[in-house]
């Protein structure tokens, strides 16, 4: 089914919170980070936890934290006893999926204000890549060996073979990301790098090098979603969520190697295009290049920024690499992509996709500080999870939807 449906009522983000992101050994405890980000989001909405009708928890792979069903023992730390609480887990896409669940709470008309909150300590149980190997099927793909690094390396190789992407173009993506991250006080990695720095960094899995890759971060993130009627006058400007959707790929990467009807294969991001198609339809976006002012996309590795830009409709398939080189996606370019520095600079997995959403909210509120995109009114945020399998898209705008 693909027809556009009529939303029951509009939903706004009225408060956001993030902890500064860092390495796990320097971060607070899990519940401290939940509390800090939730408090900041509530404060910015001029609300307390008593004003919140329901809570959505964003908690991704349990193996990363070493405790199962952590939603069962953090409720008291949020003051959410006796509230409706549910937990979302869609791997790396969790943060934006949780926002989508919170959106449904408010849009349904059942709840006026919902707190969406999560946190992660990615190295709590050791190197995340050893854990990530376990997300694959134990008989076929786990022994290859797949990690999230080798998974994207394989996609990048395919993209390079099809479209001619170069390692220098990938390095240009990293230079942009690190430049933007240096301007973001919450980013985990805040350091400018040069093309040479990236090209000289060690290979993790060809063609991915250390500076093409995200860090393993810790921190918390929170959003307060509200109906239009429940927005407090003293709160920050509401950011309206006009489109939101998710789409999933096949589990086995081997099933994505053929060229699809849309002309995508594993070098591209077909499910992201599908999710964007639906979110854009909800939001009335027919020409993303002219209607969207900035992009906050979940890209853990530099080649992913390239194919994400295409799947989101900002370049034709195979053409984004040169655009990054030309500065089209720079902070002062035509359409800034990841003005926050993106996932290349910060990756606290449970909430990484929520951070994309929060950064989109800050942009349309004009509250993004040194990495503010001038005049940003409509921003698209995306998440990604699983074996580059789950993708979600949200459109956030400063303009209240017409009733």
């Amino acid at each position: 089914m693909s027809d556009v449906l009529q939303l029951n009522r509009p939903v706004a983000a009225v408060g956001v919170g993030q902890t500064p992101f860092t390495s796990t050994d320097k971060a607070g405890t899990y519940v401290e980070m939940l509390q800090r980000s939730a408090s900041e989001a509530l404060d910015s909405a001029s609300l307390s936890i008593d004003d919140i009708d329901a809570v959505v928890l964003a908690l991704a792979p349990e193996a990363l934290m070493g405790v199962n069903h952590a939603e069962r023992w953090c409720i008291e730390n949020l003051g959410a006893r006796d509230k409706p609480v549910l937990r979302i887990q869609t791997g790396g896409a969790t943060g934006l999926s949780a926002v989508q669940a919170g959106f449904s709470h408010v849009a349904s008309g059942l709840y006026e204000r919902v707190l969406v909150v999560g946190a992660d300590r990615v190295r709590e149980s050791g190197d995340a890549q050893k854990i990530f190997n376990k997300i694959w099927d134990p008989f076929y793909e786990r022994p290859l060996p797949f990690t999230t690094i080798t998974m994207i390396a394989m996609s990048a190789v395919r993209y390079m073979a099809k479209y001619g992407l170069t390692e220098k173009q990938m390095a240009r993506v990293s230079v942009k990301a690190h430049h933007n991250g240096a301007l973001n006080p919450n980013a985990h990695i805040r350091k400018e790098v040069s093309i040479e720095d990236v090209l000289d960094s060690r290979y993790l899995a060809w063609p991915i090098k250390l500076l093409d890759a995200c860090p393993q971060s810790a921190g918390g993130c929170a959003v307060v979603l509200s109906s239009a009627d429940a927005v407090k006058p003293e709160a920050q400007s509401p950011a309206w969520v006009t489109g939101i959707s998710m789409a999933g790929e096949s589990y086995f990467i081997g099933d994505r190697l053929e060229v699809s009807e849309r002309g995508y294969d594993y070098g591209d991001a077909e499910a992201l295009a599908v999710a964007a198609e639906r979110a854009y339809a909800m939001a009335g976006i027919t020409d993303p290049k002219s209607q969207i002012d900035a992009i906050e996309t979940y890209a853990s590795f530099t080649p992913v920024e390239v194919h994400n830009a295409e799947a989101l409709g900002f370049a034709d398939l195979g053409t984004a690499g040169p655009l990054f080189e030309e500065g089209f996606f720079d902070l002062d370019g035509e359409i800034p992509l990841n003005p926050s520095g993106g996932v290349i600079c910060t990756n606290p997995i449970s909430v990484t996709a929520m951070v994309r959403f929060v950064e989109a909210v800050l942009q349309v509120q004009g509250n993004a500080g040194a990495h503010q995109v001038e005049g940003a009114k409509t921003v698209v945020a995306t998440g990604a999870g699983g074996s580059h399998q789950f993708f979600n898209v949200a459109v956030v705008t400063s303009e209240e939807p017409k009733k």
């Binding site: 869609t90 349904s108 008309g109 376990k134």
Partner: protein, 359 residues
């Protein structure tokens, strides 16, 4: 714009008490999801989205939904995983349709006890709070036993409460007598082996649709869900205020103010007989103080299917309560039925679902 009514138009179930060595987790989920689609006369392409309740812990996977979303019908379509409870997945799907963003949503949840190498309870221990309660031996079964102890002691007549539990277990499992239940081995004092459901394999699917599409089905009158805190030592295990509020939300949304007169059948989550008895008063099955007598007498209006003692799949199993309530209304034995689902230790997460014959 007013929110549309939501209807259950298809149900599907797979698995059973005797594990099928040929059935993988994926094929079991696929069988349930396909059955729900077939029941509604629909295809996967007719769906606007999939909502899962997948427990990584139960499935033994780092991200269960990576594997399980495909057999549940998700591919290049909207999908989400409410990993805390199958009741939450149902509530989320309901809200998606109420929101106007989805017309049809397929919900699936499951548990496959036969694939658990060290047993379901060993896995459950890993969800206990890691610093204090895990070392104390907390598990779902241990927590249920503590709750049963608290309930029996708080009743003022522990011996009567024990007799009521045995009687209830014998009513639900008609192959045994109350005496046999009371004489069976302890699995976690005071719970006896014949008072606790066997852990089995099962997958369950429900297909929700906007009622204004006009298909045949069973309407969702209202859903309520509330949560208690995690620490067992700080909870009132014998008096579940969060269940009171979940029921009040569901009944309020369904316009029920006299449950005794307005509800025909309750499918209560009887993970122990004590849990069933504890739910009587919050759901309005009987007045406070009458619950033990009702359990001793037995009520044809509660768990007429035999309840969870037929065997319960871990994590996803409680979704069967909603399927049974749907069947009761479809079959004409009830005009309005209520389903009750819990997850977490000693019913930490409570969901109440009111279903009604098509309006």
């Amino acid at each position: 714009m007013s929110a549309p009514k939501v209807r259950i138009v298809g149900i599907g179930e797979a698995g059973g008490a005797i594990p099928d060595p040929e059935a993988s987790l994926e094929t079991t989920i696929f069988a349930a999801a396909s059955a729900a689609l077939a029941d509604a006369g629909l295809r996967r392409d007719d769906l606007d989205g999939i909502v899962l309740a997948a427990s990584d812990q139960t499935d033994g996977r780092a991200i269960s939904s990576m594997l399980t979303s495909g057999p549940a019908g998700a591919y290049l379509n909207d999908e989400i995983n409410a990993a805390s409870s199958p009741g939450h997945a149902l509530a989320l799907a309901w809200m998606q349709v109420l929101s106007g963003t989805h017309r049809r949503v397929l919900i699936s949840s499951w548990g496959k006890a036969s694939e658990s190498t060290f047993g379901v309870q060993a896995a459950e221990r890993l969800s206990a709070e890691p610093f204090y309660e895990r070392d104390g031996g907390a598990s779902a079964l241990a927590a249920a036993a503590i709750q049963a102890s608290v309930h029996r002691a708080a009743s003022g007549d522990p011996e009567k409460a024990a007799r009521a539990a045995a009687a209830l277990a014998a009513r639900n499992n008609t192959t045994v007598t109350a005496e046999a239940v009371a004489g069976s081995d302890y699995v976690a004092s005071p719970l006896r082996r014949l008072e606790v459901p066997a852990e089995i394999d099962g997958a369950f699917s429900l297909l929700l649709e906007r009622a204004d599409i006009g298909s045949e089905g069973v309407d969702i009158g209202g859903i309520g869900w509330r949560s208690d805190i995690g620490r067992l030592g700080e909870r009132s295990l014998g008096r579940l205020e969060h269940l009171d509020h979940a029921v009040a939300d569901a009944y309020g949304r369904a316009g029920i103010d006299d449950p005794g007169g307005q509800v025909d059948t309750w499918y209560l989550h009887d993970y122990t007989p004590d849990a069933e008895v504890l739910a009587y008063t919050p759901f309005g099955v009987c007045a406070a103080g009458d619950a033990l007598d009702l359990a001793l007498e037995g009520s044809a209006k509660v768990n007429p299917d035999g309840g969870s003692l037929r065997g319960e799949a871990p994590f996803g199993g409680p979704l069967r309560k909603v399927l049974e309530a749907t069947r009761a209304i479809r079959g004409g034995s009830a005009g309005r039925a209520v389903a009750h689902l819990t997850t977490g230790f000693a019913g930490q997460f409570q969901t109440a679902v009111v279903l009604e014959a098509k309006s």
